[in-house]
C-alpha cells in the first residue's frame, strides 16, 4: 500500500514508477513537485524512479502567484 499526501491510498504494484502512480491517481497538473519517503524525485526521473511498497508519497501542486 502507498500513502499519497497523507490521505489517499493506492495498492502497490511490482515495478510501479512515479509516472505510473501519477497516472493511476489521475494527477493532470503539469507543475508539481513529488517526494517519495521525503526525498524529492527530479522530474526527469519520473519514468524510472520506482516507488517501494509502503512508501509515503507527497505531490505538491505548484500554482502561480507570489
Amino acid at each position: 500500500m502507498i500513502l499519497i499526501n497523507n490521505r489517499d491510498k493506492l495498492e502497490w504494484q511490482e515495478g510501479m514508477t512515479v509516472r505510473a502512480l501519477l497516472t493511476e491517481m489521475g494527477y493532470t497538473y503539469t507543475l508539481i513537485t513529488v517526494t517519495v519517503n521525503g526525498e524529492l524525485v527530479p522530474k526527469e526521473n519520473y519514468e524510472e524512479h520506482l516507488v517501494p511498497d509502503g512508501a509515503e508519497v507527497t505531490v505538491f501542486h505548484l500554482a502561480h502567484g507570489g
Binding site: L31, T33, L40, F60, H61, L62, A63, G65, G66
Partner: protein, 202 residues
C-alpha cells in the same frame, strides 16, 4: 538607544538563536518582501535577498514597498526598509536573475531558503535544484495565495526538507490581494522561524 530593545517582546530565547542564522530569500515580490520584513522583526541575523525587478506601481497593492520606491531596484529598496527596521541586520542583496546555475552558489551560506517566486515553473526548478544540491537544508515554499478571503484554505504541508504554504490551487490570474499574499508570506516566515529555532519536523 539600545537597538536590542526591538526584540524585547519576542519569544524569550528566540532572538539569540535567530541572530546567528542566515535565511536566503529567492524573489523580492509579494512573498519575499513581506517574509523578509517578518524575519527581520523576529531578529534574524542575516538575509540574502535576490531579485532582478524594479519596483512598479502595480507592486504596491501587496509588496513591502512605497510610492517613493517606484523605479528602484527591489533589492535596494527592500534592503533599505529592512535596515530601517533593524540597522543591525546583515543584508546581502543580489540584483540578478536567479537561474538553476546560480541559485546554489548565491544561497550556499543560508541555513534555509525561502522560495518567493511568482511563476510556478520557476518554483519547480528552484525546489528541484535546491533539493538535489542541499537535500538536508530546508526550503520553505508557497503555492496558491491568490484571490481574497478563503482564509481557512491556507495551510502548510511538509515532506522531507520541503515545506509548502498556501491553498495549492488558486492562481494569480484571478488577482492578488495584499492580505492573502501577506498571510502566505508570513506563514513562510513563521515556518522558517520554527525550523531555525527547533529544527525541521519529521
Amino acid at each position: 538607544m539600545d537597538i536590542e530593545e526591538i526584540f524585547k517582546r519576542n519569544v524569550p530565547g528566540t532572538r539569540d538563536i535567530l541572530s546567528k542564522k542566515t535565511v536566503g530569500i529567492a524573489g523580492c515580490g509579494g512573498l519575499g518582501s513581506n517574509a523578509a520584513a517578518a524575519l527581520t522583526r523576529a531578529g534574524i541575523g542575516k538575509l540574502i535577498i535576490a531579485d532582478f525587478d524594479v519596483v512598479e506601481l502595480s507592486n504596491l497593492n501587496r509588496q513591502y514597498y512605497f510610492l517613493a520606491d517606484v523605479g528602484k531596484k527591489k533589492t535596494d529598496a527592500l534592503a533599505a526598509h529592512l535596515l530601517a527596521i533593524n540597522p543591525g541586520l546583515a543584508v546581502e542583496a543580489h540584483f540578478i536573475e536567479l537561474t538553476p546555475d546560480n541559485l546554489c552558489e548565491l544561497f550556499k551560506g543560508a541555513d534555509l531558503l525561502i522560495e518567493a517566486f511568482d511563476k510556478a515553473e520557476r518554483k519547480a526548478w528552484l525546489i528541484e535544484t535546491w533539493c538535489v544540491h542541499f537535500p538536508h537544508k530546508p526550503v520553505v515554499c508557497a503555492s496558491g495565495l491568490s484571490g481574497y478571503g478563503n482564509t481557512g484554505a491556507l495551510t502548510v504541508r511538509r515532506s522531507g526538507n520541503i515545506v509548502m504554504c498556501g491553498d495549492f490551487e488558486t492562481d494569480m490570474s484571478m488577482g492578488l490581494t495584499s492580505s492573502r499574499v501577506a498571510i502566505a508570506a508570513n506563514m513562510q516566515a513563521n515556518e522558517a522561524i520554527e525550523i531555525l529555532v527547533k529544527g525541521i519536523k519529521k
